[in-house]
Symmetry: C2
Subunit: 215 residues, 2 copies
């Protein structure tokens, strides 16, 4: 089934949004925790976190210019910090509900029953019930002229990990941490490890380090 | 298990790279197909595709300044187009192998045995064996001063989808399309749909549209 540029542009806007939110593949599902100067907390689900580099340890986040995500962006720019909290299977319903357009004076923590956790020396709330939890310090913000979205670059300054989820090589076992993957706008998936591959080298064929079918 | 900023900075560089490539959650696994002015094709696996907007239909890609990904970036900037091809379970080994540092005059298509497919009117090769295949036209390129990575913004101008993977609402069924999710640098996962949620509304509790445990 093929779609040309004209077909994509001719799609109904909601249909195109569902399509475009699916085409890149599986996405992360993170709850972004922030607070404003009055102490009002905010929690928003986002699927746009992306690795930018490890030295310094940077992640980027795309924040849409919608009214709903505007509060998160304003809080990040004002406070200089934010948390990323992995949605796990047990909090899919509450996590998804943070996408509802609650009024600014109602915290999504209160609306959904998720619990804020504060770490000493870090100014944004994390989510107690989440799996892997990160604290980020704002490093750069760019508004992208092409469509008004915001590129927010943060440094990971705090990581709170479930016991036993870090392997010897530093990688995290997202499956054991309960992290879910997001397909499109609304479909939450559990992951099953299929194959772990060795570092690819030109003079060697692909080497499978772990294979689900061999277990 | 908690890590402060100083702990993260003190990690061995390879350990920190494995950690940082895991912390954002599950990632997409796409093969990026390009060609240079001499007709030399290139194929590189990347996990940084992210949704930027649906009108116009834009995806962003972070391209690292490494020597290996430099050819992909040069080809995109020169030709103005590139393809994104979903890695599926059946091509995990070949897809991962494109990360090896092959010399510039050797195409990863030839090195891995994956097959280029050309679509009329689109100037970059797609991967025949991949699942969902997209053609993108370059719209913007920004080098990010903070660490020299490149933000490449492209418009989806072509989509070639496996039969039956688009739902009525426009969303793609990534599970049925065979798309895998990536954890960290080397762990490929298959996804199982867990819950599909209704559009979140403030005056209604979370509504589960489909639940694996109820099947």
């Amino acid at each position: 089934m093929q779609f040309q540029s004209s077909d994509i542009k001719a799609m109904d806007p909601r249909h195109r949004a569902a399509f475009m939110n699916s085409v890149s593949g599986f996405k992360s599902a993170n709850l972004v925790g922030t607070v404003n100067a009055k102490g009002q907390t905010n929690l928003a689900i986002m699927s746009s976190a992306v690795h930018l580099g490890s030295s310094p340890p940077l992640l980027a986040l795309i924040i849409r210019p919608s009214s709903d995500d505007h509060q998160t962006l304003a809080n990040i720019l004002d406070s200089g910090c934010y948390s990323l909290n992995h949605v796990t299977s047990s909090i899919v319903e509450q996590g998804h509900q943070t996408a509802a357009r609650y009024p600014e004076d109602l915290s999504e923590f209160d609306a959904t029953g998720l619990s804020p956790v504060w770490h000493a020396g870090f100014g944004a709330p994390m989510v107690a019930e989440a799996g892997i939890k990160l604290g980020l310090s704002l490093r750069e913000h760019h508004e992208l002229a092409i469509n008004g979205t915001n590129l927010v670059i943060g440094e990971v300054v705090l990581a709170d990990l479930p016991a036993g989820c870090m392997a010897e090589d530093g990688a995290l076992d997202l499956v054991s941490a309960g992290t879910v993957a997001l397909s499109g706008l609304d479909t939450y998936c559990q992951a099953v490890t299929f194959k772990r591959m060795a570092y690819a080298k030109t003079h060697l064929p692909p080497e499978v380090l772990w294979d689900a079918s061999a277990q």
